[in-house]
């Protein structure tokens, strides 16, 4: 199920990939167009709305030309929360994986907290961080934290013993072994964690922006729903889908370059 852009993205593959969405679009159009009233707006209406959101000039209402503002707000929270999660989870995971004392201190607690879904943290986040972007940021952080942590711990614990022996005989001190062996050897697992974490960050952003923030794609989805502007809701969904897809592609590209030494990743 690996997605590949570039060399393997032949024309026939692009056409095949577009076939099902095109059919879906056609069905959507047939089911919603030329009717007096439809709860779900037809695709053309959504396209016009998206245009208005992006550059304005159609409806000139509160949403017009606001897409960039909302997108940047969401991007900031997604990548901010994700980056903070990575910065905390990778070192912590390396320590949990290799230092028994740290493992005994943190592992039971983290295992206990892990099954609690991000949605359940929402009320507590509001109490701790108040209504606003801090809560959204925190929820995104929480959502991407566990996949990064778990995969880092897994990677670090599965470094071949042989590589430690090789490093020791070549004169690497036991502190330097962390950077020279543990980190590079577990990079494929860490990367899997980062990819999953970023995916979850996009899932969580809508919940995160239910915390009463004014801007963000999640925020306009929630607000437009209350105002029965379903076409705006759909625009928000499509935008999140595209951004999530693009950011995954960027991470994969980075991964393929960083892990070009790994037979599983080339």
């Amino acid at each position: 199920m690996r997605l590949r852009l570039g060399k393997s993205m032949s024309l026939s593959r692009i056409l095949l990939a577009l076939a099902v969405p095109a059919l879906g679009l056609a069905a959507w159009h047939l089911a919603t167009s030329n009717r007096g009233y439809s709860l779900i707006p037809p695709p053309w209406t959504v396209a016009v709305q998206w245009w208005d959101l992006a550059v304005g000039g159609v409806w000139n209402d509160a949403y017009s030309a606001m897409l960039m503002t909302h997108t940047l707000a969401s991007l900031g929270r997604v990548f901010g929360g994700f980056a903070l999660a990575a910065v905390v989870a990778i070192p912590l995971g390396m320590l949990i994986g290799r230092v028994p004392l740290i493992r005994n201190l943190f592992d039971p607690l983290l295992q206990l907290l892990r099954p609690i879904p991000v949605t359940a943290w929402l009320p507590l986040a509001l109490i701790l961080f108040g209504i606003g972007p801090k809560s959204a940021f925190f929820l995104v952080f929480l959502g991407s934290f566990y996949p990064i942590l778990m995969n880092t711990v897994f990677g670090v614990r599965n470094v071949e013993e042989r590589l430690f022996e090789a490093a020791a005989m070549l004169g690497v001190s036991s502190q330097a072994v962390f950077w020279k062996v543990v980190l590079p050897a577990s990079l494929p697992s860490i990367f899997t964690g980062l990819r999953l974490g970023l995916g979850i960050a996009w899932v969580v952003i809508v919940i995160g922006e239910m915390t009463g923030v004014q801007t963000g794609l999640g925020a306009i989805i929630m607000e437009a729903r209350q105002m029965s502007r379903t076409e705006v809701v759909l625009c928000g969904m499509v935008t999140i889908g595209i951004l999530g897809f693009l950011s995954d592609q960027v991470v994969q590209l980075l991964g393929r370059w960083l892990l070009r030494w790994s037979p599983q990743h080339v």
């Binding site: 090789a166 020791a168 020279k180």
Partner: protein, 255 residues
């Protein structure tokens, strides 16, 4: 047997190793006595489970001594060190480093300057004939090439003693012969001391100055034979065959 004047580079006396497995002690090596002089090429031979790897890993410093003593240049071996390098059967290369970077790993870890590290790496890349693959990653190499990198890595690190645990066991016959020749060549040009584990009698006679024969349960040394044949040795010669029969007899016809 050996020159009393000369201090042995390695000296094992009454060396014993026990592992504890599920509460039970397993004696992997019992009362081994072995002195090896600088520059010697020693083969350890014996059936599976006789403690060859254990002895080698103790010399490398990967395993502790249970009883007896194990000295290098008169000082007890306390752990892995740069004066001893191991060549593993499964290579043990760092998969995220290129051939050149793998070979440069030891010199870089000992804090030499960049230019010295680069020059050393280049020299040993050339020595094992991998110039064309210097920037390839281990997964792009054949088994024989990987083992050349592993040997170069140890030599680049300036090891005095090269420990080899069935290094050519996973290679095809032709590659194995090539590497045996190359190894003898490298050894002859240097002052290296080589301890080479194998379970192939022919390989031992082909390579070694001395063949140390071991037997299992518990692992111990049962014979220590000098091989006086001139190199290059001819495996089809009558002298070679006589030695083969002799060692085969010592191993109890298991081979």
């Amino acid at each position: 047997m050996f020159d009393r004047q000369m201090q042995p580079i390695l000296d094992a006396s009454h060396l014993t190793k026990q592992f504890v497995m599920r509460g039970e002690a397993v004696t992997a090596l019992a009362d081994a006595n072995l002195r090896i002089c600088k520059g010697e090429f020693v083969c350890l031979i014996g059936p599976s489970g006789c403690g060859k790897s254990t002895l080698l890993r103790m010399i490398a410093g990967f395993e502790t001594v249970t009883e007896g003593s194990l000295l290098m240049w008169g000082a007890p071996i306390a752990g892995p060190g740069q004066n001893r390098g191991m060549v593993f059967q499964d290579y043990g290369l760092f998969p995220w480093l290129t051939v050149r970077q793998n070979i440069a790993f030891g010199p870089a870890a000992s804090g030499l300057s960049r230019s010295v590290v680069a020059a050393t790496a280049d020299r040993f890349v050339r020595m094992v004939g991998l110039e064309a693959f210097a920037d390839a990653y281990p997964h792009q190499l054949s088994g024989g090439m990987k083992q050349r990198v592993a040997i170069a890595r140890v030599l680049a690190n300036d090891a005095e003693v090269v420990l080899m645990d069935e290094p050519f066991g996973a290679l095809d016959a032709m590659t194995r012969e090539r590497l045996q020749e190359e190894l003898l060549d490298l050894w002859a040009k240097s002052k290296l001391t080589v301890i080479f584990v194998t379970h192939a009698i022919e390989e031992a006679i082909l390579l070694a100055d001395r063949v140390v024969v071991m037997s299992p349960r518990p692992g111990r040394i049962i014979a220590d034979e000098k091989i006086e044949l001139l190199r290059p040795r001819d495996p089809t010669s009558p002298e070679f065959n006589a030695l083969r029969r002799h060692l085969s007899g010592l191993l109890g016809g298991a081979h």
